[in-house]
C-alpha cells in the first residue's frame, strides 16, 4: 500500500458562523502521479477546496497533508506548489522567459540553471521559440501553455489547475486537454484539476471527485463514476441518465466477480425488469439508472421479451444520431437511435424499449419515496 501524495482530512470552510459550509468535512486521498478532477456544478466547493490546498484561503477546520507532512499552517509561498489559473495570470510586464523563470528566481536558482530549466520547460510545451515575446502578444492557448510551463518548471509537489480551459474556445479546449494530460503524465506531476465540464474530467482524469454542496458524493475512476454511480446526483451529473424507481425482488443470480447480482425489479405501472446491483438489495426500493444509448428502441413490437411500450414525444436530429424522448407510463425516457436504421420515427409513433439487465444499475442507497415524483 503506497502512501498518498495528498491527504485531505475533514476539510471544512465556513464563510461565516451560522452559514452553510462551502466545504463540509471533505476527505480525499490522492495517489502520486494521479490527475484527480474535482468535478461539480458551480457552488459545489471545488474551487474553494483547491484554493485551500494552494494556501490562498484558510480552512475553518481540517488538515491538508502532503508527502506525509501537514501543511495546513504553512504559508502560501512556502508550499512549493504550482498553479494554473483560468485567466492564465501571466505577469504582463515580463516576457515569456521571465515569467517562466520567476519561480526559479524565488528559489534563488543560479542564472545559468534558470536559463537551462526555462528552455526545457518551454520545449516541453512546444513554445521554445517564443522566449523573448511579450505575454500579451500570445494567443489564449499559448498563454495557457506558458502558465503550465511556469508552474511545472519549479518541480512542484502538487500541480493545481483552476478551470484552465474555460476561457478557450471549444476546438482549442479539446487540443489543450490532450496536451495537458500528456504533459502531466510525462512529468508524473500529482495534479488537482477543477472543472465543471464532465467530458474533460472523464477524458483526462485518473480519478474523479464528484462534488455537490461541499461534499464528495463519489470518488473513483471515470469508469466507476460513469458505470457505477453511487448517488442520484452522480448518475445525473455524469452523462445522461434515465431513472426508474422500483421495488427490488430477490436475487436471480450472481452477475460477476465484483460481487454484484442480478435482480428483478418491479417498477410501478410499467412491469418487471432485470437489473444489476450490489448484493443485499432485495426487499428495498431503489432507483435504477439506464443510460440513453443503452436503451434499445424499436418501432415494431418484435421478439424481445416484455418490451416497454410507449409513445414518441420528441425527436432531435444531431447528425450522427437521433435523440428520442419516449413517454412511458408517467415518465419520459431519453433514448437514441441510429439515423441509418431504415424507418425514421415521428412524433406520436409507438416505440418499444428494452435493455439488457447489465445496463440497468441499481443505485446502492434506498430511494426515498419523494424521489418517485421527480
Amino acid at each position: 500500500m503506497t502512501e498518498s501524495k495528498l491527504s485531505i482530512v475533514d476539510l471544512t470552510k465556513r464563510y461565516a458562523a451560522g452559514l452553510e459550509p462551502a466545504v463540509d468535512r471533505l476527505n480525499m486521498e490522492v495517489e502520486e502521479g494521479h490527475l484527480v478532477a474535482l468535478l461539480g456544478p458551480s457552488g459545489c466547493g471545488k474551487t474553494t477546496t483547491l484554493r485551500m490546498v494552494a494556501g490562498l484561503m484558510d480552512p475553518t477546520a481540517g488538515s491538508i497533508v502532503v508527502d506525509g507532512r501537514e501543511i495546513t499552517h504553512t504559508p502560501v509561498n512556502k508550499r512549493g506548489m504550482g498553479m494554473v489559473f483560468q485567466s492564465y495570470a501571466l505577469f504582463p510586464h515580463m516576457n515569456v522567459e521571465q515569467n517562466v523563470a520567476f519561480g526559479l528566481e524565488m528559489r534563488q536558482v543560479s542564472k545559468a540553471e534558470q536559463k537551462a530549466r526555462v528552455a526545457a520547460a518551454l520545449d516541453m510545451v512546444q513554445l521554445g521559440h517564443l522566449g523573448k515575446r511579450q505575454t500579451k502578444e500570445l494567443s489564449g492557448g499559448q498563454q495557457q501553455r506558458i502558465a503550465l510551463a511556469r508552474a511545472l518548471v519549479v518541480e512542484p509537489t502538487l500541480l493545481l489547475l483552476d478551470e484552465p480551459l474555460s476561457n478557450l474556445d471549444a476546438k482549442l479546449r479539446e487540443t489543450m486537454r490532450t496536451e495537458i494530460r500528456s504533459i502531466q503524465q510525462r512529468t508524473r506531476a500529482t495534479t488537482l484539476f477543477v472543472t465543471h465540464d464532465q467530458d474533460e474530467a472523464l477524458d483526462m482524469a485518473d480519478r474523479i471527485a464528484v462534488m455537490n454542496g461541499g461534499l464528495i458524493e463519489q470518488f473513483g475512476s471515470p469508469t466507476e463514476v460513469y458505470e457505477r454511480p453511487r448517488t442520484h446526483f452522480v448518475a445525473n451529473f455524469i452523462g445522461q441518465a434515465n431513472f426508474l424507481t422500483g421495488r427490488v425482488g430477490a436475487e436471480t443470480g450472481r452477475a460477476n466477480l465484483a460481487g454484484e447480482s442480478y435482480y428483478k425489479v418491479d417498477v410501478e405501472g410499467l412491469g418487471q425488469f432485470g437489473a444489476i446491483g450490489s448484493s443485499g438489495l432485495a426487499g428495498s426500493t431503489h432507483e435504477l439508472v439506464i443510460r440513453p444509448h443503452r436503451l434499445n428502441v424499436s418501432l415494431h413490437p418484435g421478439a424481445a421479451d416484455a418490451p416497454l411500450a410507449g409513445t414518441i414525444e420528441r425527436v432531435s436530429y444531431t447528425g450522427d444520431a437521433l435523440a428520442v424522448a419516449v413517454r412511458v407510463g408517467g415518465q419520459q425516457l431519453q433514448a437514441q437511435m441510429l439515423t441509418s436504421s431504415g424507418d425514421l420515427p415521428r412524433i406520436g409513433d409507438a416505440a418499444y424499449l428494452s435493455w439488457n439487465p447489465e445496463d440497468a444499475y441499481l443505485l446502492p442507497s434506498p430511494a426515498k419515496l419523494e424521489r418517485l415524483a421527480s
Partner: protein, 306 residues
C-alpha cells in the same frame, strides 16, 4: 474505492480549534492595512483636518478692528455677516455669479462635449487632450490672458476701435462682466469633462432609430438627444457653480478690487484687516452653503438617475 490510511494523519480537530487559521490571517490583514493607511491618514489629518478645525474654532473667537484676537467662545462673529446687508449682498452676488457662469459655461461647453462624445475620428483623443490641456496651467496665467484680451487697450477693444466700431473702449475688466467671461472659459474644461462622462448613455444608434422613425433633426435633438444629456448637463452646471462660488484669483484680478465675492472678502479680512475670526466665520458660512448645495445635488441625481 478504498481509503488509504495516511501514516501521519492528524486527529480530527476539536470544535474550539475551528477558525483559528482564519482569525490569525484576519489579524495579520488588519495589521497590514492599518499600516498602509496610517501614513496617508496622518498626512491628511495634519494637512486638512487640523487647519479646518482650527479655523472653525477661530470663528468663535472675538476679533476687533485693530487685529487683536480674544480667545473666547461667542457667536458674535457670525451675527455680523448674517445681519449686515452688505454681506447679504456679497453672498447674493456670489450666488448670482455662480448661476450665470454655470449656465453660460454649460451652453458653450455643450457643443464641444457633444462633438467629442459622438466623434469617431482618430483625433478624438487628441481633441479631448486639447480641451483638457488648459487645466495644466495656473488660474493666474489664464486670468492674466483674459485681462489682456478684455482690457482697455486689450485685444477686443483695439480690434473694435481699429475697425471703427466704437469710439470709447468697452468696460470689460474691473467689473463682473469681465469676471464672468473669464470664469466661463476657465471652467469650460471641467464642464466638458463632466458632460462627456455624463453622456455615457448617448449612442448614435438611438438618434438613428429616432430618425428612421420619421422624426426631424430638430425633434431628434429635443426628444432624444437632449433628455439623455440632461444628467451630464446638470452635473456640469453644479460643478461649475460650486467652483465659481469658491474661486478667488479670477474675481480678484479681473475684478480689480471692484468685484466683491465671498472669496475676496475672506482674503481682505484675513490679510488686510487681520480680522481672523470674522474671516473664519465667513469661511464657515461658505462651507455650509457648499455643503447644502452638494446635498441638494445628491438628492437631485438620485431622482434623475433612478
Amino acid at each position: 474505492m478504498t481509503v488509504l490510511e495516511a501514516p501521519a494523519a492528524p486527529e480530527r480537530p476539536k470544535a474550539q480549534d475551528e477558525g483559528q487559521l482564519e482569525k490569525a490571517t484576519e489579524r495579520r490583514n488588519r495589521r497590514t492595512y492599518l499600516a498602509l493607511l496610517l501614513p496617508g491618514l496622518l498626512g491628511l489629518l495634519v494637512s486638512f483636518v487640523f487647519p479646518l478645525a482650527y479655523m472653525v474654532r477661530m470663528s468663535f473667537n472675538q476679533g476687533s478692528p485693530d487685529g487683536v484676537i480674544v480667545e473666547t467662545f461667542t457667536l458674535d462673529t457670525y451675527i455680523q455677516p448674517l445681519t449686515d446687508p452688505y454681506y447679504w449682498k456679497v453672498t447674493l452676488d456670489t450666488f448670482q455669479m455662480g448661476v450665470v457662469v454655470g449656465i453660460l459655461c454649460v451652453i458653450v461647453s455643450y457643443p464641444v462635449a457633444l462633438f467629442l462624445a459622438r466623434s469617431t475620428s482618430k483625433y478624438r483623443g487628441l481633441l479631448i487632450a486639447i480641451a483638457i490641456a488648459p487645466l495644466l496651467t495656473s488660474a493666474v496665467v489664464r486670468t492674466y490672458g483674459w485681462m489682456v484680451i478684455l482690457g482697455t487697450n486689450g485685444l477686443i477693444n483695439s480690434s473694435l476701435d481699429g475697425l471703427g466700431l466704437i469710439d470709447t473702449p468697452l468696460e470689460l475688466t474691473n467689473n463682473m462682466t469681465g469676471v464672468t467671461i473669464g470664469l466661463v472659459e476657465i471652467f469650460m474644461p471641467y464642464a466638458i469633462l463632466a458632460m462627456i462622462s455624463g453622456f455615457g448613455r448617448l449612442s448614435p444608434q438611438l438618434e438613428e432609430a429616432a430618425g428612421s422613425l420619421g422624426a426631424s433633426k430638430f425633434k431628434v435633438f429635443t426628444k432624444v438627444t437632449l433628455p439623455l444629456c440632461l444628467p451630464g448637463l446638470l452635473t456640469a452646471f453644479l460643478l461649475v457653480f460650486v467652483l465659481s462660488i469658491s474661486t478667488f484669483i479670477t474675481p480678484r484680478l479681473l475684478g480689480g478690487g471692484s468685484v466683491q465675492v465671498l472669496a475676496t472678502e475672506i482674503y481682505d479680512q484675513t490679510t488686510g484687516l487681520l480680522n481672523w475670526p470674522f474671516a473664519a466665520a465667513l469661511s464657515v458660512i461658505l462651507l455650509v452653503l457648499f455643503g447644502l448645495i452638494i446635498a441638494v445635488y445628491q438628492r437631485l441625481t438620485k431622482k434623475i438617475g433612478g
